[in-house]
Subunit: 355 residues, 2 copies
């Protein structure tokens, strides 16, 4: 069967024939429909993040998938059930504490591998196997859009951590800004819109006309051009934000989020940055952080409850949104085009099959 892989020699994703996997006891066999592409895939390809499975000289890419149960193999799943797989798995023979408590997303490094990212093959292939507990059932309506559940689940987790950080007092957030208008940023805006935030902003640095700005504005959110205003100026130009979701991975944004927040506000950091040094107005930011009771939470990955919440969010999206975000679906053979960047493109998927 076909799989999209990277190898140390080529570092460019390409199609390779691999053996169809056999489900082990407790695992189901899943026929893959679509697999999304995101920034992490590009980082994996560039070698900046992740790694090959032990003893393997290739990695099957892909961690945002939707598929259909081909063979339940004695698990509780039914054949034909649509499922979204989670990403983290225990290290073979390693500690499983965080998995046992249902919080693999909180496991420290060394306690997990990540399918399609680090140490275990991903979902960008025709068939995959997975323990049934890591397959989240979704209704048939999401056969084409369900691969968005994984990225949305990461935002759900970040929002959960953000809300928890404000749970010691009465907190009723009204204004929110998403930093970044990539696909994760736009899904975050969609999520906050579905969660009832009326005063929504999205920061980007693109010129109109632009399909991401169209999505932001169609959601009723305000597009803010980071080339026109620094994060520090935005509270004066627009308003201070009760909640910020950082989805750019630009390190100065992470710390300058403190400037952007309203008193008692929280910034959830989702974007994964490179290694730049940063010159900060550190004393002032620190002072503001303390005197206004602000908070920052870092958030990575997600667990089954976040996938379930993400399914609800996807179901609550306006009809047009998923379609507007998923701009392209490529056949596996068109892998090279699929991984190209293009201003008109928001989210691409590789389509292996349809329901």
């Amino acid at each position: 069967m076909r799989a999209i892989v990277v190898t140390p020699e080529t570092e460019v994703p390409h199609v390779r024939e691999i053996a169809r996997p056999e489900p082990a006891p407790g695992e189901a066999l899943v026929r893959v429909l679509r697999v999304g592409i995101d920034g992490t895939d590009h980082e994996v390809i560039a070698g900046g993040h992740g790694g090959y499975p032990d003893g393997e000289s290739h990695l099957v890419l892909g961690h945002e998938a939707i598929g259909v149960v081909e063979d339940p193999n004695g698990t509780d799943l039914d054949a034909g059930q649509l499922v979204v797989p989670t990403v983290r798995r225990p290290v073979q023979g390693g500690p499983t504490t965080y998995f046992e408590r249902g919080e693999p997303d909180m496991a420290p490094e060394g306690h997990y591998v990540e399918r399609g990212i680090a140490g275990e093959h991903g979902f960008m292939t025709e068939y995959v196997t997975s323990p049934a507990e890591f397959l989240v059932p979704v209704p048939p309506a999401f056969a084409e859009t369900g691969f968005l559940i994984e990225p949305i689940s990461n935002v759900e987790k970040a929002l959960e951590l953000a809300r928890a950080s404000r749970s010691a007092f009465e907190w009723a957030p009204e204004s929110a800004m998403v930093l970044g208008n990539g696909s994760l940023g736009l899904l975050s805006v969609g999520l906050l819109d579905a969660a009832g935030f009326d005063r929504l902003y999205c920061l980007g640095r693109r010129d109109r006309p632009d399909p991401t700005i169209d999505v932001v504005e169609r959601l009723g959110a305000t597009y803010v051009d980071s080339r026109e205003h620094s994060l520090r100026e935005i509270p004066d130009v627009h308003e201070p934000m009760d909640l910020v979701i950082e989805a750019t991975g630009h390190a100065p944004h992470a710390f300058e989020t403190i400037d952007l927040l309203a008193p008692n506000g929280v910034g959830a950091l989702l974007g994964i940055p490179g290694d730049d040094s940063v010159m900060l107005d550190g004393g002032r930011l620190h002072r503001e952080f303390v005197l206004s009771n602000k908070a920052l939470v870092g958030s990575v990955n997600s667990s089954v409850p976040h996938f379930r919440a993400a399914l609800d969010t996807l179901a609550a999206f306006p009809d047009w949104l998923s379609e507007a975000v998923i701009t392209d679906a490529f056949a596996p053979e068109a892998v090279e085009s699929a991984f190209e960047s293009d201003e008109g493109r928001i989210k691409s998927a590789i389509e292996f099959d349809t329901l």
Copy 2:
């Protein structure tokens, strides 16, 4: 009656005769016993923080007090009851939302004045009045040490915010480090010791013999010299910290706390810094923050429930601790000595009276 004041002309705290206040309806009259001195007082004196009451050309200092009810004035308090006053009061004619919900510590700037700090006279005088709701009753045993309840209450609040930020998942912190071995740092170590942390560390930059190091070690905590190890090195030299309480107000420490934290750890920022610029290894810190689910919470001030928790903490302190921290009690006339810094001194108080 005598009061210790600062004025724009002198900016050195000195004794002034002022009129004894009359309690308004709902207020009790309190005879002040002791008032502690802390870093905020020094900032107020230096003009870097706070401000004079409207229309006044002096400010009575002091926000850490213990006193005894002289005249309940029809409130629920009894004459002779020992009380500790909270610090924030509503702005005359201003918004009271945060006070009504019992969370003045979360009120944004402009919604409050702070007694002895900004906009309202403090407690460093023989008698003060206060609405009864801002007077927290304490048992007679704390007549000499009760002024520690205010600074401890600030740590209680920081810890509450820190715990809340980790409440979305299973978090059982075991290791903790306090940055700073000033009086607030030592009270934080005492609080964490009383809260059951066995693996406790305290960061300072003093040579032995030193009374603060003695307190740290008598509490069973490990003293770490910041001149020997950067925050980034400490996890290797000692261990990564599940919880950090930043009580130095040194801006680089606030951000480098990210390096010090274990995965899923939280840093509570209590110290109030100046305005230094800071060069950070920002990308790496941001990356670590996200990939290890870390959190930072800023925390200022405290409300009645935190004062009550602080009373419990003070009661749980080992017998010797308060005495070791309160190194000096000065008569009001010795105010100049009281505000001098001295390596042998940890916490000074002005003693107006005894029970």
